[in-house]
Structures are given as structure tokens and as C-alpha cells.
Amino acid sequence: MQIFHTDLLCIGAGLAGERVAVEAAMAGFGVTCLSIVPPRRSHSSAAQGGMQAALGNAVMGKGDSPDVHFADTVKGSDWGCDQEVARIFADTAPIVMREMAHWGVPWNRVVAGTHTYYKGGKPFEAEEAADKHGLIHARAFGGTAKWRTCYTADGTGRAVLNTLDTKCLQYGVSIHDRTQAEALIHDGTRCMGAIVRCLKTGQLMAYLARATLIATGGYGRIYRATTNAVICDGGGQIIALDTGLVPMGNMEAVQFHPTGTVPTDILVTEGCRGDGGTLLDVNGYRFMPDYEPDKAELASRDVVSRRMIEHMRKGFGVPSPYGEHLWLDIRHLGERHITTKLREVYDICTNFLGVDPIHQLIPVRPTHHYSMGGVRVDKSGAAYGLSGLFSAGESACWDMHGFNRLGGNSLAETVVAGSYIGKQVVQFLQGTEVDFSSAAIRNAHSKVAERIARIESNGRSGENCFTLRNAMQDVMMEHVGIFRNEADLTAGVEKLQTLLERSANIGLQAPSRGFTPEMSMALRLPGMLKLALCTAYGALMRTESRGAHTREDYPERNDRDWLNRTLAYWAEGETLPTLKYEDASPYFEIPPGDRGYGGGKIIPADLPPEKLTVPGRPAPHTATPEKQ
């Protein structure tokens, strides 16, 4: 078996992975990034909208500050986030965006003078200040008090990923693409790297590292209708969960995006609504102001998604061969705006739907979009349970998103967390030495090798991995969707357990020498089922509604009993995770309150005064969120 040594092993080379890699490489450490695809093909490249950072340059962002950004983020999370982390995030974001500008990101810039912008579908004029000319501009996103989302047309992910990838090249980060980590190498207390399968040859290799980072993005492919790329199968979360030592945080917190297209589930950016797009029903009626008079289409994503489903349930959906949907209308923004500022949207509509958004309505429905849950890490990005293991980006539950993240905050998280956690990783590397245990390497290797041998020997008589995967995805859509209740979730958990048992007998329908794509799926599926079970079982146990987690049978947000974070552990051989709980936040800089949108009753918590004190600050901080 081929063995590679490095200081830092980054599993995943999207925005978060590459940002951490650059930080460590700039500090002089050897870094190797693993990636299923070439780094520039990472799902980060598909992000259109932008990154939130309180720069306050744009006229509509006037008066913005990290404090306002922090308050928006906490409210968006429905008070489920770790406020210490949200504070780090909001304070660091402006610096990181400026740094990205220094490195080469072509952010859109402020142009002094009068401009026509849109709010709620209506045009208005605003004057950009002369002294801000040439600084980074920002656009509106849902759930934010100010226009704060830095952007590069509608290709922000592409532009930032390209720039980060160039920095990796410059600082000599080794990229091993077409590789997939199949197991972590550890001795029960310390992580030492990973056993990795080459996706060109099928060979297993060992990567030994003093620090290991999981930055593999989300695991949206446990759902049938998802905006996630086909590689977002939870590989990183699975290898962490499989250790039995590292918990997943808040797996039941799953975000659906209001505007996935029908039938292809490709996302059209929230920038459409930020720039003034509206949602229409079967009668061409704009219904969102009826539900959310203040924010309308720009309420947070969980709220808009639920209102859409609610409206369709009342019989106002548009029937189609692919099921019911609603319309997104951006026609009034005009050809110039649509073909420049929203060009990717224009391309998606014409290329994939055969719809011309300048003259036609876009068919949309809420679609699985983002996983707030993931590898539970502390504020420095270090995973619970194993030293030397870190996680950043969507794969992690760092946890600044709580139970619902705001648009523009995930893309920002990748580079902000990447920068911050990158510095913590550097510190860790500076103070640590590792003795690599040959027993640990052999154990991890033989586990994977045995699984491969078993799948090969099952052959055609084994279960078909695609059949099982499709069944899992359907269970998740049907039982663990936007609206949840005890009966559906109970049935869902049972079905997933049955599928997990069947997945032990997966075989290959088309064996071939060397690399086989079917083997990749076969190896991945039992882990995906475990992630699905963590999600479904966590949702069943959480008897309240918070952020994106909506229980029809428990409609109130219950701070008295549920102001906490779910930790899901997986003991080997079990068919259910073991759930534990920890406080949502070490302290509440902003005490739990009303989000100002979405409605719903709150059962209040009785928090002791020390929980309302920010360490290092003299008196209890009284900043309450502005009423919007």
C-alpha cells in the first residue's frame, strides 16, 4: 500500500478546504488536499449569490456593522446557534472579504451616483456615495437588516474558488484529485490521517498527517430533490461518524431552498428575490405579502419555503407532470439586468428548462438545499472526540447557523471559518508531534479492504446499491421533509433501519477490474443511511419547531426544553444513533426572542443571569435585535 506523509491533510478541496490549506501552506507547512473531483469542480463553484460581510460600503448597507450582522445571524438561527462562534464569524468576515480582494477576487464594486434598485418587486432610486466609489459593493439577501452580501455577478463561488485555487498553486499545496477518503486512521484518542481510495485505479492508499481536516461539504444526496452536486454524499461526515467517537451536531436541521427549479432541482439564486423577483401562484397572484407583510419574499428561507408549501396545500399550486410548483417572476427586472447580474439564472433557465426568464415565468418549488448539521466542532474547528481532527464549512457544525442559516452566510462561512480555523490548525501544528501507529494504519486499512472484498464476493446476488439509494432518498423526501410529525418520522426511521440492514449485503451488478463507479456508491451507501438515520431520529426526538425544523404536532419553539444542540454518536453495529444534548450556546449575547418573521409561539426559557453575560464584558449586554 502506498503511503503519503504530510503535515495537514485536507479532505475536500472546495472553498473551506482550500482556505484552510492556504493558511497552513503560507505558514510553511506541507499540505495535501484530497478531492473527489478537480478542486475547481467542487460544489462551491456552483454558489451564485454571495458572501455576507458587514462592510457597509453600499448605500443600502449604510450603518451596517458586525453587531448588526451578528444579530441577523442569531435571529436567523432561531437562537439555535453558538453565539460565541457567530460573533467570531461576524467580526472576521469583513477582513476576510478584503483579503480575498487582495488575492484577486473580482468583487463587484460601488459605482458612485444614482442607481435604480428593486425592493419587493418595485424599483427605487438610491445614490451611492462618492467616497465609497470602487469599494466592495453588496446586494440584498433574505433575513438581513442591511444589504450586506458581497458578490461577483452571480458567480461568486466560481470567482472565489478560482482565486483560492490559484493561492494553493502558488504556495505549493499538493492536490490529489479523484480520491475519496474511506476511513480515518486513529488510535481512539488521536487522528492520524485517512485510508483513501483512488478513483482512477480503485487502489487503497494511506495518508498520514499530523492534522486532518474534513471539509467535504454537505450530504444533500440523502434526499431525492436536492440542489447539491452529485458528489455531496456526506463522505466526510461518514468517516467521522464511523469512528464512534466523533458526534454529528444538529443533524435534524435541514434547510430547503424556496427556488429549486422544476424538474431538474437546480437552484436559482436568492439574488433573484434580493434583486426584486416575486413569487406567484397558479393565478399569477403574488401571495407572499399576505403571509409576511413586512419581508414578503425576503423573509428567511425556512419561512418562505414553508409559506410556499402552505399556499400549495391550499390549492394554489401549478400542476405539472413533475408535481405541483409555483412561479418565480423576474421579468420586470429587464433584459439587461437578467443577462448581466443574473446571467447564470438566465443560462440555467434557457439551457435546462427551455424557459426564457426575460419573458416567461420560472417554475420553482422548495428543494433540499443545505445541511446545518455536520461534524461537531468547537469554536477552534476541532472535532469532538478525536484530537488532530478538524472540520470547516458545510461539513462541520461549527455552529453559527443553528437551525436555519441565512443566504450568503454559508458561502461566507467557508472562507471565514477557513481563515479562522486555518489559524487554529497552524497553532496546533506548531505545537504537536505524532507517532504514527502501524497498528492504527493496519486496522483502518483492513476495515476498508474487508468491506471491499465482501461487496466483491456478494457479486450479482447482493443488493443493488442504486435501488437502496433511491429507496433512502424517497423515504427522506416523504418522511423527513419540510413539515414533520411523529407518525411520519417514526415510519421513516423504521424504513431507514431496514434499508441499513439490507445495505450490509450490497453486491456489484457490473464487476470490473480497477476502478468501478458502482463500488464507490456501494461503499458510500451504508454511511449515507446512517446520516439519514441521524437526521430522521434527531427530528423525531426534537419535539418543537425551530428554524428549518418544523413539527406540525409541536408548532411552538420550546426554549424551556430544547434550547440545545443534538449530538448524534454511532456505536458500531447499532441501527440507531445515540443522542446526547448540549447547550446551544455557552452564553447568550442576545437573549432568546422573536425573530420578527415567521410567526409561531415561543415557550420561554428561564436562563440564569450568568448565561446572559458575555465573558470579558463588564455588564450584561443589552443589545436586543431591532424590530424589522
Binding site: P38, H102, I175
Partner: protein, 262 residues
């Protein structure tokens, strides 16, 4: 009335000594809004799970699924079957190393040319001060840079290039486009001479035969041929800078930016 599509797919596993390159036929029923992404996945899930091909974002943004579709390089994810005849022939992209069937190794290829052209903004990273506001830039220039940064490195332009088919060291349109991106970026401190060292040869701009295939097949409609022209003119002017008067050179140099047609 939906059609029955006949997909003929190139099959070869270089890791299997018994594998012989061949074409294999598959048949699928066409649905509304069917793309090659949908058709190929149906084949893998229902007929032959061993077929190798690449998709990632399946939304035309990542560039994974470049392949030769009825003789023309393109992205399979945003190729709708209704735009093709009912007989669809699929080959892997040429030039790049074959991994198996329709899958090729674009990652290694692009990484190597990236190293050759030092594809990063040459700026002083230590000069970044977290307390300062960002350096200013004209929005129009930022948009121009992004216009070139939109390249997804799918490899279609390389696969459609006559020179790239003949010589392994030709850097191709995507690479020259990347150089052009850094050239117009004021943050990149490289001089014209530095750029000359990188692409002023027949591995770079002077190797192009002007067949224009690159721009024809670019799924992102990047003005590749313009970039080649602009880079060539920059290099040409640079090579006569000791001969022509400075006034004339300046006039010529300022004529033309990334969108100007030639």
C-alpha cells in the same frame, strides 16, 4: 410521442488488459426536458452500473461532464436530448488522458498548465493589512475580469483545438484566457516581458492556427479568440518596443481591451 433513443457509448477500461476499445449501444425512452445527464444516469442505474462518466454540479457550472457528443465537444449536463437526433454517439474528450469510457483526467492537465503560467495574481501578500479598507477598483474592470474568470476548465476548447491534437505542449485557449485574466488585473504586478516568457512562443499564442474551434464549442461563450488576439498584439508590441516611437506604441496598446472585437 416520445422517442426511443439509441445511445452509442465508447467503452474502454485501460486498467483491464482484456478490455478492447469498442462502441456499445444502449436504448432509453426519452422524457420531456431530458438531458444527457439524465439519460446516462438511467443507463448506469438500470442497465450497466460499470459505465464511467463524470458529473458533479449537473448545472453547467463545474465543467466535469465535457465529452464529445455526436462529434462535437460539449457539456453533457446541459445538452438536451430533444436537440439531438435519436442516435447519439458519445466519445471521451481527446487530448486528455483517458481514465475509462467517457471519463478523462482534466484535473492533472489543467494543474500542469497552471503551474507553467504561474496562474495566480502576482502581488505582495505580506502587504495585506487587515485594518485597511480594500484597494479600490472600477466596477467595469471587475466585471471584465470576471468575464474571463467564468471559465470552468471543462476542456472542450482544448479538445476542439487542432494544435492541441498535434502537440502535447500546446497550452490551449483556456490557458491563454487565464493569462489574459491576470494581464488585465492591476493587482498582478507582472510586466509584459514576464508574460512574454510565459506565452510568447508556439506552446502559447504563436502555436494557434486560428481554426476558431475553441470559441465555437465554449459552453460558457467566453470570447476566447479575442483573448488570443489581444495577447498576441501585446506580445507583438512588446517585441517592437525598442523600434517604434513610444507615442505610437501607447496609442496601439490602449486600443483594445478584453471585449473589443478585432
Amino acid at each position: 410521442m416520445s422517442r426511443r433513443l439509441h445511445l452509442e457509448i465508447f467503452r474502454y477500461n485501460p486498467l483491464d488488459p482484456d478490455s478492447v476499445p469498442r462502441m456499445q449501444s444502449f436504448y432509453v425512452n426519452e422524457y420531456d426536458s431530458m438531458t444527457l445527464f439524465i439519460a446516462l444516469n438511467l443507463i448506469r442505474e438500470e442497465q450497466d452500473p460499470g459505465v464511467q462518466f463524470d458529473f458533479c454540479c449537473r448545472a453547467g457550472i463545474c465543467g466535469s461532464c465535457g465529452m464529445v457528443i455526436n462529434g462535437r465537444p460539449g457539456l453533457a449536463c446541459h445538452t438536451q436530448t430533444r436537440d439531438l437526433p435519436d442516435h447519439i454517439v458519445l466519445h471521451p474528450l481527446p487530448v486528455f488522458k483517458l481514465i475509462g469510457d467517457l471519463s478523462v483526467d482534466t484535473g492533472t492537465w489543467f494543474r500542469n498548465v497552471g503551474k507553467r503560467i504561474e496562474a495566480w495574481v502576482h502581488t505582495d501578500d505580506t502587504a495585506f493589512n487587515p485594518a485597511d479598507e480594500e484597494s479600490r477598483m472600477e466596477n467595469a474592470l471587475a466585471e471584465q475580469i470576471f468575464e474571463l474568470d467564468r471559465c470552468v476548465e471543462c476542456g472542450c476548447c482544448i479538445a476542439a483545438c487542432g494544435t492541441a491534437r498535434m502537440r502535447e505542449d500546446f497550452m490551449g485557449a483556456a490557458t491563454i484566457n487565464r493569462v489574459a485574466r491576470f494581464y488585465i488585473d492591476p493587482r498582478d504586478k507582472r510586466s509584459d516581458d514576464d508574460y512574454y516568457d510565459v506565452i510568447g512562443n508556439d506552446e502559447g499564442v504563436f502555436g494557434c492556427m486560428g481554426l476558431l474551434g475553441c470559441e465555437d464549442v465554449c459552453p460558457k461563450k467566453i470570447p476566447l479568440q479575442d483573448q488570443l488576439g489581444i495577447m498576441r498584439r501585446m506580445l507583438a508590441l512588446n517585441s517592437v518596443k525598442g523600434i517604434l516611437p513610444k507615442g505610437i506604441l501607447d496609442r496601439l496598446r490602449h486600443k483594445g481591451c478584453c471585449h473589443e472585437k478585432h
